[in-house]
Symmetry: C2
Subunit: 428 residues, 2 copies
């Protein structure tokens, strides 16, 4: 047996640099835990001539073969991001008998099946704790600690950028555009913020969580996605008045044998444990038949938190290697579960309308809802905007299709000037 | 290879019944995850003639040998509770080559070293996720997901009874005695509530958490313990006024190479993630050099949540068995770390005194604090009780010994009628 476990890393950006730091600064205790030292041998970079301040000497290369064909390297860490060539490199690493640890939610959410099949075939580990929730332990707890449960629901705040923005809008009454500009200035949001504010990043993470929670393959394409770009400070003020906060939630729920998977802004009761998760923090809330409710909270992104998750996986792969137990826990998607179309999902809705300020309008609106079997739980009418009355309602739980039909009717009514907001409400 | 994995269980109380239910109701998916079915074969009970409604037929026996000597049984679940004979049975099970899963905090906190040594010797698994935090995944996340971190601090609400009581006292302004009576009536507190309200239960769990977090053996005897019996509704009202809640915290913190481990009521800032953990819920908050802050929240006790953790461990042991990787992760206490005496631990303190209502008294009190280098951060004097003035102060961070000396001086002063409360304050 070799006297150390050698690791190659693909990528040396933010997360890769964090991984190098953690492996170095906690190397002694990691060696104790594994039984032998873990050594970062070679790192794939784009430009081998760039100045880098690494905590330890490490070989850099711009040829992936220097890692994939190195028989001394047992574990490959993929922290390049993006679908290709990351996926191709991971598949080649597995074929070469190397264990793969990745932080790449894009690849896992879209190509999990292919990667798991390759890992199974090669009998290597394929670990991806860092792909969801940054440093928060969530994949392993779901796959192992909660493995005895029938999971009904996983609900999470899994995108730090949007949570930071919604927190700012809530705490400081700011508008979306101002908060986005601030988040970009602070480096919390990208120059092109679509993946975050459009909910796509959260949807990828949800596909991964749902696949594990429900033992069934759920991909990014299965997830219904609405972002936060239409959320206004008025919506947030209404939410607060009614005892809610608005959060971008990623929700996976079992509904009579089908799975509902969706990312959308949500009115969440202020008393819900997720309602206090603010700023760039993430949290995942799980309901299971045995555990009841559990929640996992922490930093969902960043150099060191993500590195924490990557190194945890590397240690696990190394322990398996040491024990001859590689490929110990692979794909757990052994069920086929149909996806519930968004039109059939049920929720209460918060709806905000501008209507003509004249007698009989409320009756007409109530009639349009009633015609689609949408009952109203509460109605607030308290202010005028440009001569119109603003009407805010919360419905009882109804199928999305009924709400859409009612809204479509209302959009055609002369007394309705504008449908301003349509936001789902989470029940306790 | 056998076509199923057979399990024996010691004890069929609340948790044992839950384990039997979970193994039965989720048996099909558990079999998929492990690769073969897990079958509960034999259960040790006190009275074999008692009527029981179990979800599946199972052999009951009052002879432990029927389990320990049964070569078909691979995994033994210990849910009897108490130190003996539970410890003896677990050691014998390991010697017989059986993997052991336990929910027994008493044995793990006091005899972890002996049990780990036996597991190592026999190369069997020894798993105890259920011993801390009921259903909350915390042991495995610390041992695996966060294994790359240097952990600085673990701080938890790990006793549901006291958290329920403090929540009631806070939300309803009730007194300790009334809340205790109610908790006993609801079955949340035992007839003899000492282990809970005295902090002993929390101290056992803290010893387990600290051992894992700091890679060093910490036992129950190392933990400084104060319970909540002296907490009054007045203390809670002051806390609330000052922006705090009072929680019974189990705190393990690294202090310059030594470990401070203590359980005591604590003024916790209302903005802290643990401050919103109410009722019977538990949560463990962890700080590490890579992950930053993480928190694990859920039901800390009860039939099904505890069974969730036990069955998660059984599945893990079964996966190891299937892969020939038993004993994959055993004792991680490879360091020796001295314990910091409580007298040297530092904290700000909330102190409430009854003093004579006359000129010069405040100066005398301030002088007594100052003589021990205890500086005051805030002083509140606003009401009289029995002709005395009530004085509430919060100090800056000071060593416990200085506070005790100052208090001892004050207790001897004629102008001080009574030292009513001395409660540590957690900093953000």
């Amino acid at each position: 047996m070799k006297d150390c476990i050698q690791v190659g890393m693909l990528g040396l950006g933010t997360v890769g640099t964090g991984v190098a730091k953690v492996l170095c600064q906690n190397g002694a205790s990691i060696a104790h835990k594994v039984g032998k030292p873990i050594v970062l041998k070679t790192v794939l970079v784009r430009d081998v001539h760039k100045e880098r301040s690494l905590p330890q000497p490490v070989q850099v290369t711009d040829k992936v073969e220097d890692i994939l064909n190195d028989p001394e390297i047992d574990i490959v860490i993929e922290v390049m991001g993006g679908e290709e060539p990351a996926k191709d490199y991971m598949l080649r690493a597995m074929k070469a008998g190397k264990h793969v640890v990745t932080a790449n939610k894009d690849v896992v959410a879209q190509h999990g099946k292919e990667l798991f099949a390759a890992a199974e075939e090669a009998q290597v580990d394929f670990l991806f704790e860092a792909s969801v929730g940054g440093g928060i332990p969530i994949i392993r707890p779901l796959k192992q600690c909660l493995a005895g449960n029938h999971i009904y629901e996983v609900m999470g705040i899994v995108n730090g950028t949007t949570n930071y923005m919604l927190t700012k809008m809530t705490q400081e009454g700011l508008d979306f555009a101002d908060v986005l500009a601030e988040a970009q200035a602070k480096g919390y949001a990208e120059a092109d913020p679509t993946a975050d504010v459009g909910g796509l990043d959260a949807a990828r993470k949800l596909a991964i969580l749902a696949s594990i929670a429900f033992n069934a393959r759920v991909t990014f394409d299965d997830v219904y996605v609405e972002g936060i770009t239409n959320i206004s400070s008025e919506d947030i003020a209404y939410a607060s008045e009614l005892g809610y906060v608005i959060k971008l939630l990623a929700i996976a729920r079992e509904e009579e044998g089908r799975i509902s998977v969706r990312v959308h802004p949500t009115f969440l009761p202020s008393s819900h444990p997720l309602a206090n998760v603010n700023d760039v923090y993430n949290a995942v809330f799980v309901r299971g038949d045995a555990v009841g409710e559990a929640m996992f909270y922490g930093r969902g992104a960043g150099e060191m938190p993500t590195a924490s998750a990557v190194v945890g996986d590397v240690i696990d792969a190394a322990r398996n290697l040491y024990r001859g137990a590689s490929g110990r826990i692979l794909c757990t998607c052994f069920e086929d579960r149909p996806i519930q179309p968004i039109s059939e999902t049920k929720a209460p809705y918060f709806i905000r309308l501008l209507v003509q300020d004249q007698p009989g309008v409320l009756a007409a609106i109530a009639g349009a809802f009633g015609a689609q079997q949408v009952s109203l739980n509460s109605v607030i009418q308290k202010r005028k905007i440009n001569g119109c009355a603003e009407l805010a309602v919360i419905t009882y739980e109804v199928p999305d299709s009924c709400v859409q039909l009612a809204l479509s009717t209302m959009r055609g009514m002369s007394v309705v000037s504008e449908v301003r907001s349509v936001i789902r409400v989470a029940m306790d």
